[in-house]
């Protein structure tokens, strides 16, 4: 799916938990997330902490969209 969006000419960032799969399916900008059942959250945290975590991750995704890449790139901390 990520490849078709990219092929259509739109920069796309893939936020996903299993980076090797994302690499396999051909994503170019990848932001690793927390866990499969809750990629952008963590029920073990408080509401506020969870929100901050999500904002940090999505912020990283926005940064990735602004970053030129040559090939598959994983944006970690």
């Amino acid at each position: 799916m990520v490849k078709e969006i990219e092929r259509a000419g739109i920069p796309v960032v893939h936020m996903c938990t299993v980076v090797p799969i994302s690499l396999t399916v051909g994503a170019n900008r990848i932001v690793p997330t927390v866990a499969i059942p809750h990629p952008l959250g963590n029920p073990a945290l408080s509401k506020e902490e969870e929100h901050d975590l999500r904002k940090k991750l999505v912020g990283r995704a926005l940064k990735a969209l602004e970053t030129p890449v040559d090939g598959q790139t994983v944006f970690e901390e």
């Binding site: 936020m15 809750h38 602004e66 030129p68």
Partner: protein, 346 residues
């Protein structure tokens, strides 16, 4: 004489371009447009008895279009139905693929179509109908007809087709049994010797291949860009109005989030059957981060969040099916002026 029905879109039927894409199905006797070339290539062995055509938009947007087309084809009792070829036209490819596979499945009549490698219809329908390989545009028509006509004749006469490579169609992915000349161990030794010498060899079971797409340039001015959310994590409005399937969904949902500040357990849920849904149902923002995207919008970090988000269900491991519709909604994203996409997966 072999009786052929030909399926075309509005353009090849000579009815007009995109402005006529909403044309409902119609049928005329005899051939139209590229049908002439087919008739010539049949060299008197077959004849196009009728041509059915339909606007691409109409076909893809009206669920009953296929039934009308099927009824029109059934009346002719053809020996074979040829669709297109569709070259690299995505919606036309999907229409040709749908007609060809439904005619084969529901009417039991052999069908043939033709498409370019990257047409999304190839992956969607190659296991359901024979799809011949063509060039990416109508300049390849002569060549496509020359390749398709003899295959169509063989199929209409009930003859066995040669291998995909020999006949020029996309491998169907359907495994067919056969008895080889040599036993498996001897074939393995032959194959190993070729591999050791660096010679070409043909594996009997091709492993799935993954192609690559070059990355697009970075977004220069995100503060004025329209960003869309897409998810394979199955977040849908409560009640799953589009009935997105819980695994390897065959379609996607497009949902308006204009004015939605954040998702709640009262309004949204996950349709995904591939993970424990407790966490996503309790707080759908954990999969589709509408809440923080709104904040970024207000802060001016992004220009705006697109009014629509797209959702489907896909396991990371079952990506092939997603290709089917991703191509379609990508075109919509562009039409909506979306400049960047955040795709979230579980």
């Amino acid at each position: 004489m072999v009786k052929v029905v030909h399926y075309l879109n509005q353009f090849y039927a000579g009815k007009g371009g995109e402005e006529m894409a909403n044309l409902p199905p119609e049928k005329v006797k005899g051939f139209v447009g590229p049908g002439m070339a087919f008739n010539a290539a049949f060299k008197g062995e077959a004849e196009i008895v009728a041509t059915v055509y339909c606007g691409d938009s109409y076909f893809n947007e009206n669920k009953d279009a296929i039934d009308t087309v099927l009824a029109m084809i059934k009346e002719e009792q053809p020996d074979i139905v040829i669709c297109g070829p569709a070259f690299n036209a995505g919606r036309y490819g999907v229409a040709c693929g749908t007609v060809a596979s439904e005619v084969k499945a529901q009417l039991g009549i052999p069908t043939l179509t033709g498409m370019y490698d990257e047409n999304p219809g190839v992956d969607m329908f190659k296991s359901k109908t024979i799809i011949m390989k063509t060039k990416d545009n109508a300049a390849g028509m002569r060549k496509a007809v020359a390749a398709m006509a003899p295959v169509a004749l063989k199929m209409a006469k009930g003859e066995e087709l040669g291998s995909a490579a020999a006949e020029g169609y996309f491998p169907t992915g359907i495994r067919k049994g056969l008895f080889e000349e040599k036993r498996g161990s001897a074939r393995a030794v032959d194959m190993l010797l070729k591999k050791l010498k660096g010679e070409e060899f043909e594996t009997e079971y091709p492993m799935p291949q993954f192609d690559r797409v070059a990355p697009n340039p970075a977004v220069v001015d995100l503060a004025h860009a329209k960003v869309a959310l897409v998810t394979s994590g199955g977040i849908v409005p409560k009640g799953n109005p589009d009935h997105i399937e819980s695994s390897s969904a065959s379609h996607y949902g497009k949902y308006d989030i204009d004015g939605v500040e954040f998702l709640t357990d009262k309004t949204y849920e996950t349709a995904h059957g591939g993970y424990d849904p407790v966490y996503a149902n309790a707080d759908p923002n954990r999969v589709l981060p509408v809440d923080v995207m709104r904040e970024f919008e207000k802060e001016g970090r992004i220009g705006e969040l697109s009014h629509y988000y797209y959702a489907t269900v896909g396991n990371g491991t079952a990506v092939a099916s997603a290709k089917k519709f991703a191509d379609t909604f990508s075109k919509e994203l562009i039409a909506d002026g979306v400049q960047a996409v955040i795709l979230t997966s579980t």
